[in-house]
């Protein structure tokens, strides 16, 4: 007896409510931009410079006491938060301190870290600094730049590849879907004020990679069916293709999510933000390949008959060759 998450044959009309789904996606994209603009992103020190200190102690963390101890040092903006994690031992109490970049310093003054350590030792003898990280303001600016560049470069490269392998309509559909995924992820990070740092950028690019993977598999089936059913309308071909690949989509997203959720729960707090972004991206990416990418292609239409070069918008010869 096999486990079947999806019935053997499905005939769901994915485009029945396409105005609603597509509209919802558009609205969510706009809301993401609004959240981003209004609430801003909670940038980590990678992007705005400063120091983060991770403390560990056998005694319970008292954030107010920590704050009082550090206040006399006059370090400007200091954020202190306690970290909870199911993977911690019973007597393991972790806090994160984030201290803004100090005036006129390229990197963290070590006297500063030492003075913070001394101040906190006054509160809690058993406190240890398990990690200290400082980024100078100069580097952080460059990091922002290279991160944005990386995301744009990835989108561009994918667009070219899909264009070569399929047609420009598919390429545009795929990139809009990716853009949608990236934007929605940024929106969620803004909304929940999750720390946005270099690892988040890596996660965004992974989402791009995963989402395109999913989109391409369905596109591939669409391309095949377009040749197979020459007379069928584009919308029906797409519906058929999504239905045919549905079982695979659910299986792959399912296994990936299983793996990611294991990491999310058990992988420790250090990479939680990173894993969270990817998990969210897998969900959004799966949705977008059906409801965004294909809708775009549907709107743009595509060239059907390759024997007549003048039929419909152009594609490339290369696009029909099989790998």
């Amino acid at each position: 007896m096999r486990l079947r998450l999806v019935p053997e044959t499905t005939n769901i009309n994915f485009f029945a409510a396409r105005k609603v789904t597509f509209g919802a996606s558009m609205v969510l994209m706009v809301l993401s931009v609004v959240a981003w603009a209004v609430m801003g992103l909670n940038f980590g020190i990678d992007f705005r410079g400063g120091t983060t200190i991770r403390t560990e102690s056998t005694q319970a963390v008292d954030v107010a006491q920590y704050r009082d101890a550090i206040a006399p040092l006059e370090l400007g903006d200091v954020a202190i938060s306690e970290v909870f994690d199911p993977t911690f031992d019973a007597d393991q109490h972790v806090a994160m301190l984030r201290i803004q970049a100090q005036e006129g310093e390229e990197s963290a003054g070590n006297e500063m870290v030492a003075s913070v350590e001394a101040a906190l030792k006054g509160v809690d003898e058993s406190i240890r600094f398990t990690s200290v990280e400082s980024v100078g303001p100069k580097v952080s600016g460059e990091l922002v730049q290279s991160a944005v560049l990386a995301v744009l470069a990835a989108l561009g490269a994918i667009m070219v590849y899909i264009w070569l392998r399929f047609e420009w309509q598919f390429s545009l559909g795929a990139v809009v879907a990716l853009f949608h995924d990236v934007l929605l992820t940024i929106g969620l990070f803004a909304l929940l004020q999750i720390k946005f740092d270099l690892a988040t950028i890596a996660a965004l690019l992974t989402i791009v990679g995963y989402s395109i993977n999913d989109t391409v598999v369905i596109f591939d089936r669409v391309r095949e069916n377009l040749i197979k059913y020459k007379k069928m309308g584009l919308q029906d071909v797409m519906n058929l293709s999504v239905n045919e690949t549905l079982s695979r989509t659910v299986m792959t997203s399912g296994t990936t999510l299983i793996a990611l959720i294991a990491l999310l729960v058990l992988g420790g707090d250090v990479i939680r933000g990173f894993v969270f972004a990817i998990t969210w991206g897998v969900i959004v990416g799966t949705y977008s390949s059906v409801y965004v990418a294909k809708n775009i292609v549907l709107m743009l239409g595509t060239k059907r008959d390759w024997t007549k070069p003048s039929d419909g918008p152009g594609g490339t010869q290369f696009s029909t060759t099989d790998a």
Partner: protein
């Protein structure tokens, strides 16, 4: 499709066997590490019974390369430093002044008297008495220029001479600046490497990044501060003639002099006025060893190269009876009076050292001075406990993810799922094999990359299996269905993986640190998962099919 030649089968199994063999040491991480350390120690320091025993913990004929654990997993310190390359320009100009002065002095008849005026440090500005003779003066100074070898600036010389009214300006040319930056960073890299190696920690990473940056990662070191202390000491040694001994830093003397404090604690508040141009510098030093002076006090014994020895010898011969300052990093260590001519270029630096200080100083002097100071732009310290926690959490998550995916696959695809699982296990083995072979560093995001690969590796198999199911519906017979399933799924597998690979490649090129670590495992995971899905699973299925010859299959 179902006919795989014997040769192909052999190649597939050989690749798998080789991959798993090179991955194997990672399963015995600490044992292999002890073995490797012992072998390395015996190579440099000779064998001892303990080292022999450690080395015997892992047989020498087995592969012993391990996945390099990143700082976030092992603990250690990371620094990103910028070399102040422009400091070298100032040094060069300072050193050039006597030469320029002599050249212009010879032409005093036409250009009149000359005087150095204040200006930016990387320029030499000289006021000339007869501005109408500027062209002649510039010609004179240009005569001192040397050709530089540079592809981007053919025929360029090392200095640029220009005039601003009655002031002659000398500075390094653009070509020379570029070459100088190159040399400065290269030299800094070399010196940092030597200093870090002297401490003898395992596998430090010292890399150049961009035009003037250096990344230093040292596993196992307690803090970034320690690392900074180790490399940040410039150890710039010079020997300068003493003009005067004074008690205030403001006591100005005439001419080109500097006032430096004494490093000797018994001489607190004492300053020395020294001639700015040193007689000999530490760059001409060829060796330095800890030693004891004639009073039995710790000291450092040094030796100059031929040109340094000659200069030192000449100077001591001409200045018997005058004090002579030994300057280290802007402090006068000692200022002994020259008692006699010192030929042969050896000498001893005595000050109030402890034994430890004298041996530290010898190390610093041997390694040489950093050609320029460094600013630290980024630093990170990760405690070993945090690294251990991260490894533990990552490993548990990996195992749970793995088990869940394995069960899910068998439930969904039965026997074929089992084949996919075997391929998945091989896949993870191959990732570790590749990581060990290319010496990539495994970081925490890298572990996430592996987990994601586990999730995605099944995708190629799922694509094929779903395809086989579809082909079975049109009842073409099992062997035909399997063959068609592979055939038709291939284009989707290739397209999907190439696009993901593109993002991994972009991450690698543009990313740094953790992002890069992640991209490496992701890219390797794509390669191995395509290989295992297309070749290994298929070979398993084909082999099974040939033996069982089922009339009917269920996928």
């Amino acid at each position: 499709m179902l006919n795989i030649s014997f040769f192909n089968r052999l190649v597939i199994w050989l690749v798998v066997a080789f991959g798993l063999l090179v991955a194997m040491p990672n399963a015995f991480y600490s044992r292999v590490e002890t073995h490797n350390d012992a072998v390395a120690a015996m190579d440099t320091g000779g064998a001892t019974p303990e080292l022999e025993a450690d080395a015997a913990m892992w047989p020498g004929y087995l592969p012993s390369s391990l996945v390099n654990l990143g700082l976030d997993l092992r603990g250690g310190a990371h620094l990103l430093g910028r070399v102040r390359v422009e400091e070298v320009y100032a040094d060069r100009m300072k050193a050039m002044w006597p030469e320029v002065r002599d050249a212009l002095r010879d032409a005093r008849g036409t250009i009149g008297t000359i005087r150095r005026v204040e200006g930016p440090e990387e320029q030499l500005r000289i006021r000339i008495q007869n501005p109408d003779q500027m062209a002649a003066a510039m010609e004179e100074v240009r005569g001192l220029a040397r050709q530089v070898v540079s592809l981007s600036y053919p025929g360029a010389t090392d200095i640029e001479v220009s005039a601003e009214g009655d002031v002659l300006v000398v500075q390094l040319s653009e070509a020379e600046r570029e070459l100088s930056d190159q040399r400065t960073v290269q030299q800094s890299l070399e010196i940092i490497r030597r200093r870090v190696d002297e401490v003898g920690t395992r596998e430090p990473t010292i890399q150049r990044q961009g035009s003037d940056r250096i990344i230093i990662q040292v596993p196992g070191i307690g803090s970034a501060q320690e690392l900074k202390d180790l490399i940040g000491t410039t150890a710039k040694l010079t020997f300068n003639p003493v003009v005067q001994r004074v008690s205030s830093p403001d006591a100005d003397a005439t001419g080109r002099t500097v006032t430096l404090p004494s490093a000797d604690p018994s001489e607190e508040g004492v300053f020395y006025v020294l001639e700015e141009t040193p007689v000999v510098t530490g760059e001409e030093l060829v060796d330095a060893q800890p030693d004891f002076d004639q009073n039995g006090q710790p000291a450092v014994n040094f030796r100059f190269n031929a040109s340094g020895a000659r200069k030192f010898g000449d100077y001591t011969a001409e200045n018997v009876g005058s004090p002579f300052a030994i300057v280290l990093d802007g402090e006068v260590i000692s200022a002994p009076v020259i008692r006699q001519h010192i030929p042969g270029g050896t000498g001893i630096i005595s000050g109030s050292f402890t034994v430890q200080e004298s041996s530290d100083l010898a190390v610093l002097l041997r390694a040489g001075a950093l050609p320029a100071g460094m600013d630290f732009l980024q630093e990170r310290t990760i405690g070993p406990e945090l690294g251990a926690d991260s490894i533990r959490a990552g490993a548990i998550a990996c195992m749970v993810a793995f088990a869940a995916v394995l069960i899910f696959m068998v439930l969904s695809y039965g026997l074929f799922g089992l084949f996919a699982n075997i391929a998945l296990l091989i896949n993870v083995g191959l990732i570790f094999g590749l990581l060990s072979t290319i010496g990539a560093t495994l970081t925490l995001p890298g572990i996430a990359g592996i987990v994601l690969t586990i999730g995605m590796a099944v995708d190629a198999n799922v694509l094929v299996f779903e395809r086989i199911r579809e082909e079975l519906k049109t009842s073409k017979g099992p062997s035909r269905a399997i063959a068609l399933g592979y055939e038709k799924a291939l284009s989707a597998i290739i397209d999907a993986n190439i696009t993901t690979f593109i993002t991994a490649a972009i991450l690698f090129v543009l990313g740094s640190g953790p992002v890069r670590g992640f991209s490496v495992t992701l890219a390797l995971g794509i390669i191995t998962s395509v290989f295992t899905a297309i070749y290994v699973t298929r070979l398993l299925i084909v082999t099974w099919f040939e033996r069982a010859r089922p009339k009917k299959i269920e996928v």
